[in-house]
Amino acid sequence: MNRNIARAVAAVVAAVAVALPAFAGAYPLQVARNVMMYMALAITWDMLLRSGQISFGIAGLFGLGAYAAILGVVRGGMPVWLSIPFAAVVAAAAAFLLGFLILRLRAMYFSIVTLALAEMFRIVIHNLHDFTGGPEGIVMPAGVIFGGNAAALYWLTLAGLAVALAASWWFEKSRIRFALTAIGNNEISASSSGVNIFRWLLVAFTVTSGIQGLLGGIYVQSYGFATPDGVFSADFTLLPLAMALLGGMHGTVGPVLGAVLLGLVSEWLKLKIPYGHLIVYGIIIIIVILFMPAGILGLARKMSRGAEGGKS
């Protein structure tokens, strides 16, 4: 019963999401694109978190993908459509190789190194002036993909979100969920159950980084230019993290919920207090951590259990 309702809601939401350009104007579509972009990033961050690894490197892989896509076209003469999957491949390959070094680290050490990675990518691109355009950035000579058609851009971002959702669903439904949950819970129990810890962390890190790169590629082709400070902005790390925290971690639904709420609130805040919205973000994170560490979803579960307990 409950599952059928959830399926029906998901089907309706998906139908509305696909059909939105038919009845929404350019501004709501722009807002929706923003929300979906951060939502997808929040989902990928959560996917790795399920193994207990907290990454602060989202912006790094997102930015790397963005630059791979734009440089692929501008310097490599790649067709624009191909540059987007190319962004995913570059970010995934980078994560795969770096994974051999950094996935030996745990907890705080892993987090700090991922944070440093993002900064490292940014500085490299900043300084390779002749190739990357340096701090001033680089522009797509042909402009925005699809000639800037609002509906097409919307669908492109929706496709990126669909990839993240599909991957997250695969992580939840397949054998990999066992491995990641086991690793997150207790590595000794995991390995003595036959789980090759390093291998599955590498799979999770590579897949999530590849999707973050893909989203970077979509983002950059949707705006037609990239600057190091723009695509490596800390926003791409902090906002997804805040969304997953607010909605509830360790699943697909929490980050989705958090992204819708925080995405819409932040859009409203941007209009009300320009540049001040990040302060409100910070306050939201503090309140969530203090009073509802399991997020909205955790709170809802707690309340529904309480209600059931009251009935019996």
Partner: protein, 234 residues
């Protein structure tokens, strides 16, 4: 012999804990006793590759496994029921059990059959099948942990202090089950509760200061003056 350990030395940092241990397990149930700090858990961790052996050999089924990574040792056919925090508390009983077989190639193909066997051995797990493992009582959690280890279809089942923290009636039940299990799988079990565990084992070793001090049959241990005085408290 399924497990043959010879002249094994291991420890932490510069501290040598195991000082040349020799131990064998065949098609039988073997107890490993000794005071806290004697090296029981270190020995188990070294068999499983959680610690690296410094010297000596660990052979399983005739093959040297000393120094292999833990997941490969698990796949070779050794399953562990660790001393504490053995479960994945956020997963259901069903998932905890299924995980036991998911990553062991020779177990994944017969997981349904193993699951049936485990649920028959511990009927309470059938009742609590969908419950989150972390919300169960200590004794039930221990049963899930044993069940999960059995799901791997192991040739050797190692249990580290299975009675730790359990009430006496549950302890008796755990050892009853172990006595049943030893017909189908080799068992190596460490215990503080020597009296109860003597019911479930064929032979035992007493480890003191990182070396084997006594090796005897269950009956021999029961009447050994040193064992009686130090471990049975009569």
């Amino acid at each position: 012999m399924i497990l043959e350990i010879e002249n094994l030395e291991a420890g932490y940092g510069r501290l040598r804990i195991l000082q040349g241990v020799r131990l064998e397990v065949g098609a039988e149930s073997v107890g490993l006793f000794g005071p806290n700090g004697a090296g029981k858990t270190t020995l188990i961790n070294t068999i499983l590759g959680i610690n690296r052996p410094w010297k000596g050999s660990v052979r399983f089924d005739g093959r040297e496994i000393g120094g292999l990574p833990t997941h490969e040792i698990a796949r070779a056919g050794i399953a562990l029921v660790p001393q504490e925090r053995e479960l994945f508390p956020g997963m259901s009983v069903a998932d905890n059990l299924k995980l036991g077989a998911a990553y062991i190639p020779h177990a994944a193909s017969i997981a349904d059959r193993q699951l049936e066997m485990v649920l028959e051995l511990f009927p309470i797990l059938k009742e609590r099948y969908a419950q989150l493992a972390g919300t169960m009582s200590g004794g039930q959690q221990r049963m899930v942990a044993i069940g999960r280890a059995l799901m791997a279809n192991p040739r050797l089942l190692i249990l580290d202090e299975p009675s730790l923290g359990l009430q006496p009636s549950i302890v008796a039940e755990v050892f009853d089950r172990l006595a049943e299990l030893k017909k189908s799988v080799s068992i190596l079990v460490t215990e503080q509760n020597v009296r109860e565990s003597l019911r479930a084992i064929d032979r035992g070793y007493v480890l003191e200061n990182g070396a084997v001090a006594i090796e005897d049959s269950a009956e021999g241990l029961r009447t050994n003056p040193h064992v009686v005085k130090s471990y049975l408290g009569i």
